[in-house]
Structures are given as C-alpha cells and as structure tokens.
C-alpha cells in the first residue's frame, strides 16, 4: 500500500519535482496522452511542411537569380515565424495549429536564405542539411543509449550559454542598427569567428539533448496529447537554429 502511494506521488521517476502531475498540469487531458511515436510523426509532418514552403522561395530565387524577388517572402517568413513561435511558447495548447503555421513560415525564410547562400557557395545547403540531420541522428542515438545523460546542471549550462549567445546577437543587432559594425569577430571568417561559430553549433546541438529528454519524460509521465505538437515544435526550433549556424560556419570556412 505504502509503495503504491509512493508510486502515485512520484511516478516511476525518483525525482520529486517531476511527478505524474507535472505534464498533466499543462492542461485538461482528454484521455489520450503524449507518445514517442506521435511526437516523431508530428516532427515528420512539420519537417515536410517546412521543406514544402522552402521549395517555393528556393525556386522563386533561382527563377531569376534576384535576391530582391525573395526578400518579401523571406523577411515575412522570419517575422511571421517569430510571432507564431511566441504564440506557441505562451499557449502550448494551441501548438496543433500554431506549430504547422510556424513550420510553413520558417520554410519560406529558410528557402530564401538557403538559396542566397547556395548562389554564393554552391553545394553549401546540402552540406549544412546533412551535418544538421547527422548531428540530430548521432545525438539521438547517444541519448537513447544513455551515453549522454542530461541533468539539472547540464540544463543550466546549456540554457545559460543559449541565453548568452542570444544576448550577444541582440547587442550586435542593436549596434548594427545604430550604424556601428557591431561585434565584428562573431561575423568574421577569422580564427575567432570560426571558433565562435563552432561554439554556437555545439550549444545548438546540445539543445537537442534537452528536447529529447523533454519528449521522453513527457511521454513517460502521460503528458496531454497536444504536448506531442509542442515537443515536435521544440525540436524544430532547435533544428532550424542548428541549420542556420551550420550554414554560417560553412560559409565562413568557404570564404577564407
């Protein structure tokens, strides 16, 4: 009886901060719960939507080779994507609707950006895609086998580094807006610039481990069904960031 009560209170995990109610508190469950298979399938759907809309801006660019032709769709996709990402973060219950829209809008942005990079460095897009998905598969294997074990300290380190990078990019952006050259070294193709890009790629990749753990524990503790969309969205955000950083890193290396 005592064992049963303990199981009810803490679930299968020994961690008292993560009990069966943690994910259920996200909203009212409809009986169906989050599963690994459902999350993987939804990630596949989001990836397909992203590729579909990316193809549109990609083709638009290569039809006349003019970057100005894709700018409205690319910038619109970036801003729209940011808006829908914010909505999804603050309203997880809406993820089933907002995450696919986010993927479509980000596809427009990535298609345009990728086409511009491809026109400057032929073959760079397939390299960046291969490296991004290769990293995803490798880290998933390492996570599933228990070789990488995310802990609270690990999360603290990765979240702090991610926020630090965000602040650095923000300062650089603001300085650019006021006519300054910004924080030059982070955009340069010198040793510091490449080192910084490698660091950012590593942090973006390690964010994937946090996503895997979030999805794994969500499905283990019976999170509501809509958390499958949220988990897939979370994975997409990290993958898109990793892909963009891979593009930047490869472009720096090719421009030397």
């Amino acid at each position: 009886m005592a064992t049963h009560k303990a199981l009810q209170m803490f679930g299968r995990s020994g961690n008292p901060t993560l009990n069966d109610a943690t994910f259920k508190n996200e909203g009212i469950t409809t009986g169906q719960t989050m599963t690994l298979e459902g999350t993987v399938n939804k990630t596949g759907m989001l990836l397909a939507l992203l590729v579909l809309s990316a193809t549109y801006t990609w083709n638009l660019f290569f039809q006349d080779g003019n970057p100005a032709a894709v700018m409205p769709a690319t910038i619109g996709g970036a801003i729209g994507g940011l808006v829908f990402a914010l909505v999804t973060i603050f309203k997880k219950q809406w993820a089933g609707i907002t995450a696919p829209i986010y993927a479509l809008l980000q596809g427009l942005f990535l298609g345009g950006i990728s086409a511009i990079f491809e026109s400057q460095y032929p073959g760079i897009v397939i390299q960046a895609t291969g490296l991004t998905l290769g990293t995803l598969a490798s880290l998933l294997l390492l996570y599933k086998l228990g070789i990488i074990k995310p802990t609270e300290n690990f999360r603290l380190m990765i979240v702090s580094a991610t926020m630090g990078i965000g602040v650095l990019y923000l300062i650089s952006f603001v300085m650019n807006m006021f006519g300054s050259t910004g924080i030059g070294f982070i955009h340069s193709n010198g040793l510091f610039g490449i080192g910084f890009s490698l660091f950012v790629v590593a942090i973006a990749a390690l964010n994937l481990v946090l996503d895997f753990d979030f999805i794994e524990q969500g499905s283990e503790h019976g999170a509501p069904k809509y958390m499958e969309w949220f988990g897939a969205f979370s994975l997409m955000v990290t993958l898109i960031w990793l892909y963009l950083e891979m593009l930047r890193l490869l472009a720096k290396l090719r421009s030397r």
């Binding site: 993560l18 073959g123 291969g130 603001v174 807006m177 969500g218």
Partner: protein, 69 residues
C-alpha cells in the same frame, strides 16, 4: 550528380531513417532510471520567455530611438 551531393544526400537519408526509427523507441533503462533526471516541472522555455521579452523591449526601444534620429 557530384560527390558532394551523393555523400551528403546519403547522410541525410540515413539520418532521417535513424531518427524516424530509433525515435519511436524508449530510451535505455540506464537513461530512464536515474535520480538526477531533469525536473521538467518548469517549462524549458521559461528562461527563453524572459529573454524574448527583453529582446522585444530592447528592439522596440531601438526602433523608437531610430525613428527620432
């Protein structure tokens, strides 16, 4: 089809295959049965939410300042 496309194309197909196959299985017991697992009681985006609000506020201020310069 050049070598670059062949090699990286193969990596893409293989990686997607691994993700869609392995992703559906639960992690090993070594991963699941630990006492130092992350407590996801707090959203992983809590820190990000704060950062986003700071970014939006700063960007708003920059745009506001720029419109008067």
């Amino acid at each position: 089809m050049d070598l670059n496309t062949l090699v990286f194309g193969a990596i893409i197909v293989l990686s997607l295959g691994i993700f869609f196959y392995i992703g559906k299985f639960r992690a090993s017991s070594k991963q699941r049965d630990r006492d130092d697992k992350i407590g996801w009681g707090k959203s992983k985006f809590t820190g990000l939410k704060i950062l986003i609000w700071v970014m939006v506020t700063v960007l708003g201020l920059v745009l506001f300042a720029n419109s008067f310069s």
